[in-house]
Amino acid sequence: MSIKGKAAISGFAEMAPQKGAGNITPLGIIANMAREAGGHSSITHARSLTTSLVKPAAEAAFQMAAVSPQDMDFVQPYDCYTITVIVTLEDAGFCEKGEGGRFVADHDLSYAGDFPCNTHGGQLSFGQPGLAGGMSHVIEGARQLMGRGGGRQVKDASIGYVNGNGGIMAEQCSLVLGV
């Protein structure tokens, strides 16, 4: 089952300039979103343990945005476990299936590196705060696009990939955010 949509994110109150409510500026961030849901709860019953629903979700989101994975300035993948990041990068098309481990070892995943990944540290860094965990990746993507990354700003970031996971790899939501 899939859901697709496009949205213009017009403002995050928490990020708005602190000069008063009247000064909030629309961000002009365009979000292409695609979601795929499987029929399983336990991952045991997923059709595949090795290829996740990130694949159709990411393919659809990239197609809607008319861009490719290689166009991304950063990625913010849901990271409940390290393997989740690697499977997500493989299935979203950043590297070949089975090459994710080598890929993250061969790239600099820091904000200043050649493959900025979870520039806010991700949930592997700060914990997994329930539903807020997935939203943290969206917020970080928006911050980077707004140039509000502070000391972790990705240089010239104009487009990025965000992925959210639900259940035990039971549903996946891919976002392409751009300004």
């Binding site: 499987g38 029929g39 399983h40 336990s42 045991t44 019953h45 997923a46 343990l49």
Partner: protein, 135 residues
């Protein structure tokens, strides 16, 4: 039959036909009457098309080992004497995956993709568990 001290399943109205069939040493899964999808674990609605028109069908209980892990430490005191034992995911010929134990096979002889067949273990007067063994 000695007293069985391990945790037992709790059948409900949805899963009862599965356990009733197991008691007869027969594996049954559901099939969606609307779209034909074969379904395991027991559900109230088809995970593919959401139709509630599900029927129970007997299957041969054949499949292949899709994935496994070997428990070297028991996850419950009652399993202490069983280690090492194999926790397995079997892909049935009909498609669905089933979580089970692989029995009748030394852990170091287990290989992904090996053909397996259902094996029924009567653990109490009321309950029979479905495990799998090499075919």
């Amino acid at each position: 039959m000695g007293e069985y001290t391990k945790p037992l399943p709790h059948p409900n109205e949805v899963s009862q036909p599965f356990w009733d069939a197991a008691k007869r040493h027969e594996l049954q899964i559901q099939r969606c009457h609307a779209c034909g999808t074969s379904i395991f674990y027991p559900r109230e609605a088809c995970p593919e098309c959401l139709a509630a028109d599900l029927i129970w069908i007997p299957v041969a209980g054949r499949g292949r080992l899709y994935s496994y892990t070997i428990a070297q430490a028991p996850t419950h005191p009652a399993f202490a004497d069983d280690v090492p034992y194999v926790i397995a995911i079997v892909e049935l010929e009909e498609g669905p995956h089933i979580t089970t134990n692989l029995v009748g096979c030394q852990p170091d002889q287990v290989t992904i993709g090996m053909p397996v067949v259902a094996s029924f273990e009567d653990v109490s007067a009321e309950m029979t568990l479905v495990k799998f063994r090499p075919e």
